[in-house]
């Protein structure tokens, strides 16, 4: 692994010359509800070897901006202003010119690596097609080059991987493949649209390391689109903040993150939960009042949950987990995808059976209760799910949604139910006018408030919250969390709070349970687990979570690299060999390897 000085080829512009620039960019969409002005005249540029972060919440127009650089907006979009990629003006290119530019001058890394890769084509096929299309390598050479690219992004056994399909790779590896595809033709600039949002935090740290080494070693400019301030602090040289189609603030990472000038930026930063600063950021959490002799609200003893699969061995999703939630206590359940945290939550709700072990709610064993008693037990548990889009029945007005548990348990009459609903709407800070509204008329944050209100309708002693804020924008998340702590203080419910976000757990939980592959790695008081972790896995998790402050994040990153080194692992980075040759299009053999060749399952590589 060597760092090469590769500034010699002519394709790299002199410093200062932007590789991507937007001047007065404006985008409008024609929709069935009229025209929508998505981007309202913004100026932005990305220079070689520079990471510019474009930050904003959903609907701010950041992704639309990036898609204009490739000329890939849907046909109902109208674009004005000038977009330059290198020395090319995107608006002035015809179809062929545009296609030539894509991949060659500007490449894209998408958010969701599973859907960004074609499920029916091999990795090799998808990598070589770009190479052959832009005339960089053909046939066996292209295959060799593809293997080299995979090796560069740190995928072991690249030759074998080339023959595999996307579903055979893990999420992180898929994103590495997407990055390999992006750097295949050595573009001047890479647009990374939320490249780590769909990934676990440790994988995210690796991918960010990889992207960082990319700009260092290949001098590529990167336009990083993200909503995650931690990622911004970790990666960005400069930051641009977007709000409703406007750029409200630009500056260096230090300027924007540490000395924000615009109100919106300030509020946005204030809304980011900060790992390590503990509770109190969005309102205090009440101390646990339960006496030790009180029955725990939830007690899991040696819980095992298995999924039986047709024609495959049984999958043990949860393996010998014991934990308990005292009355009035918030227990944070942390883990990466596949750790079994949502499975445990579902089991605590009595929705999936335990293969062995016990689940007891306030001393009643869930697994042994039936019929009426079971129903009576259920009313003592409330639940909030992650996805605000699917957690409310779209056919019921909000009033009915919240009153539904009362109807199910035949409590009160219409009048008292209505009173209760209005009371809850007040409690979750929603206007009473939403009583007759339908879910699709509400925003994500509002819907999540309704979910919480519904969970509290029956005044439960235990609330199971499965990633209740992870689908929300940060500012909305901050508001919901604030409200949540206030509610908990008022209603004193115990809570099993499932989340992948350590920072959120840090500001809510009394105790923390860390899960990995269905087993508990570490559990204890928040302070201990999150600030002085004993187990290696917890240390890694915490080290990998980025914080929204550039200097601190740099320190944390170095600490993480040190930790990895201590554990004897490599830091993810681009492996550029000594004899690495920057690809240059060859004009001698025009042609490309796609079409029905791929259709019939034949690779275009001609190697077999």
């Amino acid at each position: 692994m060597t760092t090469l000085d590769i500034s010699s080829p002519g394709s790299v512009a002199a410093a200062g010359d932007a590789v991507l620039s937007f001047e007065g960019l404006s985008v409008t969409f024609k929709t069935e509800f009229g025209e929508v002005h998505a981007v309202k005249g913004i100026d932005l540029e990305v220079r070689p070897g520079e990471v510019v972060a474009l930050v904003g919440e959903s609907g701010s127009g950041k992704s639309v901006t990036s898609m204009t650089a490739l000329g890939l907006l849907p046909s109902n979009a109208r674009v004005s202003g000038t977009i330059r990629v290198g020395d090319k003006v995107v608006g002035g290119l015809d179809g062929r010119g545009l296609r030539n530019m894509r991949g060659n001058d500007v490449a894209m890394v998408f958010q969701e690596p599973m859907t960004a890769l074609n499920p029916v084509l091999t990795i090799g096929d998808q990598l070589t097609e770009g190479l052959q299309l832009h005339g960089i390598a053909f046939g066996k050479q292209a295959t060799a080059r593809a293997a080299e690219l995979l090796a560069m992004v740190g995928i072991p056994e690249p030759e074998r991987r080339l023959k595999q399909y996307p579903h055979e790779l893990s999420g992180g590896q898929r994103q590495r493949v997407v990055i390999a595809m992006a750097i295949a033709c050595d573009p001047k600039v890479i647009i990374a649209d939320e490249p780590t949002t769909a990934l676990d935090v440790t994988v995210q740290a690796d991918i960010l390391d990889l992207l960082r080494s990319l700009k260092d070693k290949l001098d590529t400019g990167i336009l990083l689109i993200t909503h995650n301030m931690g990622v911004v602090a970790d990666m960005a040289d400069r930051v641009a903040v977007m709000l409703k189609g406007d750029l409200v603030e630009t500056g260096t990472a230090d300027q924007v993150l540490n000395h924000p000038r615009h109100e919106y930026t300030k509020r946005l930063l204030a809304a980011v939960p900060h790992l390590g600063s503990g509770p109190g950021q969005f309102g205090d959490v009440a101390p646990v009042v339960a006496a030790p002799e009180d029955l725990p609200a939830l007690d899991l003893g040696n819980l095992v949950i298995e999924y039986r699969r047709l024609g495959k061995p049984t999958f043990r999703a949860v393996d010998d987990v014991s934990l308990s939630v005292a009355q009035g206590e918030i227990v944070g359940l942390v883990g990466e995808s596949g750790s079994g945290k949502s499975t445990i939550a579902k089991c605590a709700l009595g929705l999936i059976p335990a293969a062995s072990g016990s689940v007891s709610i306030l001393g009643n064993d869930f697994t042994r209760t039936r019929g009426k008693e079971l129903k009576a037990l259920r009313r003592r548990i409330g639940v909030v799910f992650q996805d605000p889009a699917s957690s409310l029945n779209p056919r019921l007005p909000i009033g009915d949604v919240i009153a539904e548990p009362l109807v199910v348990h035949k409590e009160g009459d219409d009048k008292s139910r209505r009173r209760r609903v209005l009371e809850l709407l007040d409690a979750v800070e929603l206007p009473r006018s939403v009583y007759n509204r339908y879910p699709h008329e509400l925003s994500g944050g509002q819907r999540q408030r309704v979910s919480i209100a519904r969970a509290l309708t029956l005044d439960p002693e235990l609330l199971v919250a499965d990633e209740p804020t992870s689908a929300l924008d940060v500012s909305v998340q901050a508001n919901v969390l604030k409200m949540f702590t206030a509610l908990q203080e008022r209603y004193k419910f115990a809570c099993l709070f499932v989340s992948h976000d350590l920072a959120v757990i840090d500001l809510l939980a009394h105790r923390v349970v860390v899960l990995q592959n269905g087993k508990i790695v570490e559990q204890g008081p928040r302070e201990e687990v999150l600030h002085h972790p004993r187990e290696e896995y917890t240390q890694r998790l915490i080290a990998a979570a980025p914080v929204p402050e550039p200097l601190e994040q740099r320190r944390r990153r170095e600490a993480r690299h040190a930790l990895l080194a201590k554990l004897g692992e490599d830091v993810a980075e681009l492996r550029v060999e000594e004899d690495y040759e920057r690809p240059r299009p060859r004009q001698d053999e025009g042609g490309n390897s796609s079409g029905l060749g791929g259709l019939l399952g034949a690779g275009g590589d001609g190697s077999s």
Partner: protein, 505 residues
Amino acid sequence: MLKFILRRIGVSALVLLGASMLMFFLTINSGDPLKDLNESNSPNRENLIEQRRALLRLDDSPWERYWDWLRGVGGCFTGNCDLGVNINGVDVLGLTQQAASSTLRLVTLATLLAIVVGVALGILTAIRQYSGFDYTVTFSAFLFFSLPVFWAATLLKEYAAIQYNNWMAVGQYAPWTIVIAATVAAFLLQAVLGGTRKRRLITAATVFAFVTVTLFVFNALDWWREPMFGAGGVLLVSAAAGVLVTALVAGLRNRRALYAALTTAVVGVIAYFALAPLLLAPSWPLLIGLFVVTLVVSVAIGAAWGGYARKQAMLVAGITGTITSLMVVADILISHWASFLSIKSRPISTIGSQTPNFTGEFWERTLDMGTQILLPTILLTLVSVASYSRYTRSSMLETMNQDYVRTARSKGLSEREVIVKHAFRNALIPITTIVAFDFAGLIGGAIITEQVFGWKGMGALFQDGLNAVDPAPVMAFFLVTGVAAVLMNLVADLAYAALDPRIRR
């Protein structure tokens, strides 16, 4: 995968068993098998009734009869099938074999045609969504969905057969017919090809001129009655097809594939000359053998030209080879048209699957079979095309929205590559299932088509059986459709696994 398939077969067998029981009891209870005899006043009525009672075993319990039928079917696995006898005492197995072969010929041909045309139309309409072409095809598809088959059949008989045969006696197009045909062709082609207004106008004008001139020239040559195509024509069309296939499959920039395609076309025509004597009076095995040789040779040509793009070149050459051999056959058939007309002056038939007492050589007989099968095939194809084109369209639109299509575009792939390589292959996955499901249903649906065109197939077997409350032929019909359904589901599963690596295990 194997375990999965075995499981599927097991379940299907159970389902078939249940369905056969249902069919059997429904059939024997659908009426009185002795009705016609009871009403007759022939002198030996009692005798006949007694005979039939014995033949249909009306005095045995239904369960016994069903069990015996089942045992007979079970015998098929050990090589001695027994499907029972029909109401006239004829062995049903023989009847079924005859009927099934003629029905399957009809249905298979129609399905193959419908897949090709339907999928192509579906892709085109998805690409040109909300264009005039899209609306036209959509409307036609709905029209064909809504068509009562027997009603359309009567129209087809009248206009595609009777009127055509009348016209064939003269064989000249009236000038206004030519103008209308050219206009329609011009409109359709410009709608399919699209582009700017100017480009569309040029396309339309070119097509109009070409069609008009061609048709007038054909008129002048009396081409319709004495058509000829010639080796030159074969070469021209095959080469053009080769270029088109290359453009679609590999892109014209891929010279190696292009040269492979052109070489294949030329070699094909040379082989045509060389083999001309053999082709004068061939047999089916010979033709099939020649076709296999053609395929091997074309793929070899592709491999020779291939280089870095060998697989594509082989594919292109293979397709071109197939097209070339089809063109050769077409040329031979066309050159026999005149002699065919002299044997059979009204070429398109409306009844039956073969002209009775037809005397002709191999190629004339082939033409006769073709003209017999033409109308029912058109009818069956139209309905299937309608549904396949709709399914393909929606499936394509669905995949065109997927993220990986955006990724493909962001690499700089052209629309053709995005559609053919990335979108279409994914869109094909649901279509396969639907086509397989449809095939079995189509055999059932062919009953009407067969009845209208007097085609002695499964439909007649079923209908006569049901009318006479005679279970053996009805059950034979069920057996064929049921087994076809199970087989096609299996094919669908396999195709699914072949197309979708996610479930290949």
